[in-house]
Structure formats: structure tokens, C-alpha cells
């Protein structure tokens, strides 16, 4: 651990400063690419590409984790495209082509309030941000299923050839709330829109309670990035990284 106490050179300190800029840029681009239906590009440009990192890549939601980049692509790209065609099929007068995917839809994703810790050894980093977004699926009658979406976004980043890449991502929805309704009418046992969350999360490779919005106050504290020297799988934003919510029995 002698390296852990080493004073960084000036050049290394500047790189750390720049690392945080690159990591914010990486996650922000992920938000735009996702909202723009540029999902293949997001995988190609922003996610890990090395064989070992691909196999350990993870995309988590409230209800579990997609593990390995192939499963992530199947959900994040292929299933999303299938859902897009399903939504498009309602519009019989619109050509059912890839160019028309997203017709009648609006998606906005954001990344705000970023907090980043770069590992002491500089090889990985941990990130938390917040996505206050929008998801609207239209219908031919002019109406839409319009929702405000609120999710914490946790990420483990890793450098490949000196470039930061998304390795593990955990999107923990707090709420998916319809626009234009009285919030007093929501189910008090599931005010966050449990059905909408389940639809957004799909059917992950590893089914687990990765996040329960009822206990967000515990989860955030446990999962906040903290200064660290090297990556620890037990604290990863993956199925292996269990916060205290499990240990004290909140997550079942």
C-alpha cells in the first residue's frame, strides 16, 4: 500500500482534474444518446470494449442486473428497438421503418448533481448523478402516456487505453410519475409508479432487489462514492455489491 500514500505529481493532479471532466462528459453523452435513440452508438462509444470488461459489464435497475455486455445490448438496444416498433405499430398511417421509430414520443434524460471519486491508482472511478427526465409515448388519438422520471444513476468507470468507459451502471428509479394527475390519487403503497418502473427495467439476467425506493435514504448513504485506492468488487454497482440495505433486512 506504499503507493496509496504517494503524493501525486503535478501532472497526475491535473490528469485527475481532467478525469472528472471526462467522466461527467461520458455520463452526459450517455443521457443524450439514450434520449435520442442513439443506443447502438452509446454502446460502441461509451461502454467497455475489452473482452474481460465486456464479460463483467453490468446494467442494473430496481429489479435486478443485466450482466455481460451481450445481455446489456439485448436489453438496452434490441428490446428497446422492439418496444419502439410496438409503439409505432399503433400509428397505421406511418411507415413502420427504423427511421420512424420514436414517432409520437419524447424522451429527455439528464445527469445533474454529479459526484465523482477517482481511485487512488487512477484505473477506475465511481460516480453518482441524478436523472430528472421525461418519457412520453403517444397514441394516434392525440393522447400520450407522459411521465416525469426520477432516478439516481450510479456508475463504475474504467479506463481502456487511457479513455474512460462505462463498466457498471445502476439506474435506481425513485419515481416514474404521470404528468397532469393529482398526486394525492397515487397508490400510497407504491407512489413511485411501480408498474412503470417494472416496464422500464424489463427482465434482467439477475433478478434481485437492486433498489427499493422506500429505503432510498439508506441506499444513497451506503452507495455514495467515497475516496478509495483500488476497485473493490464487494462495493461495485453490480449484483455483487450489496449495500447495508441487504444486511439489515430491508431488501428481501
Amino acid at each position: 500500500m506504499a503507493d496509496a500514500n504517494r503524493t501525486l505529481t503535478q501532472e497526475e493532479q491535473v490528469w485527475r482534474l481532467w478525469d472528472k471532466e471526462e467522466i461527467k462528459d461520458l455520463l452526459n453523452r450517455f443521457a443524450y444518446y439514450t434520449a435520442n435513440n442513439d443506443r447502438r452508438r452509446a454502446i460502441t462509444e461509451l461502454w467497455v470494449a475489452g473482452d474481460e470488461n465486456r464479460s463483467t459489464a453490468s446494467l442494473g435497475y430496481n429489479n435486478g442486473y443485466y450482466t455481460g455486455l451481450d445481455n446489456i445490448i439485448a436489453h438496452y438496444v434490441v428490446d428497446a428497438e422492439a418496444r419502439g416498433f410496438e409503439a409505432l405499430s399503433a400509428y397505421s398511417g406511418v411507415a413502420q421503418t427504423e427511421d420512424n421509430l420514436g414517432y409520437g414520443c419524447s424522451f429527455v434524460h439528464t445527469m445533474n448533481t454529479p459526484y465523482i471519486e477517482v481511485a487512488g491508482n487512477g484505473r477506475t472511478a465511481k460516480y453518482i448523478g441524478y436523472d430528472c427526465g421525461l418519457s412520453c409515448i403517444g397514441s394516434p388519438d392525440g393522447s400520450s402516456d407522459s411521465n416525469f422520471t426520477f432516478a439516481k444513476v450510479y456508475a463504475d468507470l474504467i479506463q481502456e487505453d487511457g479513455v474512460w468507459k462505462i463498466w457498471h451502471l445502476l439506474i435506481a428509479y425513485d419515481h416514474i410519475i404521470p404528468a397532469g394527475i393529482s398526486y394525492g390519487d397515487l397508490d400510497p403503497e407504491a407512489p413511485w409508479g411501480a408498474d412503470s418502473v417494472e416496464r422500464a427495467c424489463g427482465d434482467p439476467t439477475v433478478r434481485d432487489v437492486a433498489y427499493d425506493a422506500l429505503y432510498g435514504w439508506v441506499d444513497v448513504w451506503e452507495r455514495l462514492p467515497r475516496p478509495y485506492y483500488s476497485f473493490d468488487n464487494a462495493k461495485a454497482y453490480t449484483a455483487d455489491g450489496k449495500p447495508a440495505c441487504y444486511k439489515i433486512g430491508l431488501y428481501k
Binding site: 435520442n36 442513439d38 419524447s106 407522459s146 397532469g180 394527475i181
Partner: protein, 249 residues
């Protein structure tokens, strides 16, 4: 860009430019919040080819861009006077300056920035999401709207200071609160105290055109403006100006 290819001095210079242009847009956003839209001209270049793109077209040149901000300012002044008259028990005795912006808010916070600085360090580009709420004083009185927008900006270095050359301010959602995002907006009962708001007009864009339609259930999918990419000089990349074609992906 790979940081390993740059000296620490170069990286710090670029970091400071990124910080500076983000600060400019932070101040731009805060100016909305405190109803000082009339002061937004200070963030712009003095060049006469500046342009501001809104959903309904381009404001081109100093006179048009500053005229647009002046129109917001005039609307704020009128609304302030009418609110003061409507609530005399709370607002009597205050000066016109103290009343300016009373009862109004244009909360347009920004996040999700993607910024690129040119290799020649003479320009920069940025894209942001606005996720706010705006309260307009209408002939029915104050009414609140959801605001989801994109800000896409070209900056240039002018006499040692970073200034806006082109800006897109494009609404994706501009919808009265309390309604679904594709619901019709039923008329609200008129309040005679605010009837004078019907006189508010805005100068037409220099080049009227549809840069972006706000969300509807029969709208083609409309992505964000194009994301900034690494580039050498402003002449060698796309722009967020009229000729740039970057307002729609």
C-alpha cells in the same frame, strides 16, 4: 482527445475555458431566474452576425437579439405593475424598481453539459438540458408552465472574454402545469385585473421558420440538437447558427 497527448499547462487552460463557458451559461440561467432577461445581451459577442434560434425562427444581429430580450423585459415590467395593483395590501409603497419581477419566476436551470473547446482555443461549443418551470402572467393572471428545453451554444473569444456567437433555445415541452403533456389547454377564466396583458407583443423573428415543434403525439421523433464533437477551428465544424443545420440532431 486523450489527455496523455497534452501538457499539464494545456490541460489546465482547457479546463479553465470549460469552466468559463459553463459559468457564462450559469449566469445566463440565473438571469432568467431573477427576471433580468433584459441584461442577457451582456453575454453576447458584439459581432453583427450573432443569432438566437427559437422554436419559431432566428433572431439575427444585435438589434434583433437585444430586441427580443427587451420585449421580455417590457412584459415583466407590465406584469409587475398589474400584480402590484392586484395586491395593494402587500405591495403598496414599493418603487417600480423594487416591484420589477414581483410574483414571477422563470426558473430555467441547466445540466447535462457537453462542452468541446477548439484546438485553436478561439472557440468552444456547449449543449445543455433546461428542466424548469416558468410562470407567465396572462390575461387570466399568473399561470405556471413546465419547461424542458435544449440550449446549444457557440462561444468565441472576443477581446480576451468568452462570448456567445450563436445560441439555440429550443423548447421540447412548454406546457401548462396540471395537465397531461398532450392535453388541450382549456381557456382559463379571464381576470380583468390582468386584461392589459393582451397588449403584450414580441418582435417577429428575423427569419421565421420552424426550428423545433414542441412535443405532440403526432410529431416525428425529434432528437436533441447535435452534440459537440472534438474539432480544430469553428470554420471546420458544424455551427449552432443559421447555416449549421444542427438544431435537430
Amino acid at each position: 482527445m486523450k489527455k496523455q497527448n497534452y501538457s499539464k499547462e494545456d490541460l489546465l487552460t482547457r479546463w479553465e475555458i470549460r469552466r468559463e463557458v459553463q459559468n457564462i451559461m450559469g449566469k445566463y440561467s440565473q438571469s432568467y431566474c431573477i427576471k433580468q432577461e433584459g441584461a442577457l445581451g451582456q453575454f453576447w459577442s458584439r459581432r453583427d452576425d450573432i443569432c438566437l434560434g427559437l422554436n419559431n425562427g432566428w433572431y439575427v444581429g444585435q438589434e434583433a437579439v437585444l430586441g427580443y430580450y427587451a420585449a421580455i423585459d417590457a412584459e415583466t415590467a407590465l406584469a409587475s405593475r398589474l400584480i402590484a395593483a392586484r395586491f395593494p395590501e402587500k405591495l403598496a409603497g414599493k418603487t417600480e424598481e423594487e416591484l420589477f419581477g414581483v410574483g414571477q419566476i422563470s426558473y430555467r436551470p441547466i445540466d447535462t453539459q457537453v462542452v468541446e473547446v477548439a484546438d485553436d482555443l478561439q472557440s468552444a461549443k456547449g449543449l445543455w438540458v433546461v428542466r424548469g418551470l416558468v410562470e407567465w402572467v396572462t390575461t387570466a393572471g399568473p399561470v405556471s408552465f413546465w419547461d424542458f428545453s435544449y440550449w446549444a451554444v457557440d462561444f468565441i473569444l472576443e477581446d480576451g472574454a468568452w462570448k456567445i456567437l450563436h445560441m439555440l433555445d429550443l423548447h421540447e415541452i412548454d406546457k401548462r402545469q396540471g395537465l397531461g403533456l398532450t392535453d388541450a389547454e382549456p381557456a382559463l377564466p379571464e381576470d380583468p385585473a390582468f386584461a392589459e396583458m393582451a397588449s403584450v407583443t414580441y418582435p417577429a423573428p428575423t427569419v421565421p421558420c420552424v426550428l423545433r415543434e414542441t412535443y405532440r403525439a403526432d410529431r416525428a421523433f425529434t432528437p436533441s440538437p447535435r452534440l459537440p464533437e472534438p474539432y480544430r477551428t469553428l470554420d471546420e465544424t458544424f455551427s449552432y447558427g443559421m447555416e449549421g443545420g444542427a438544431w435537430n440532431g
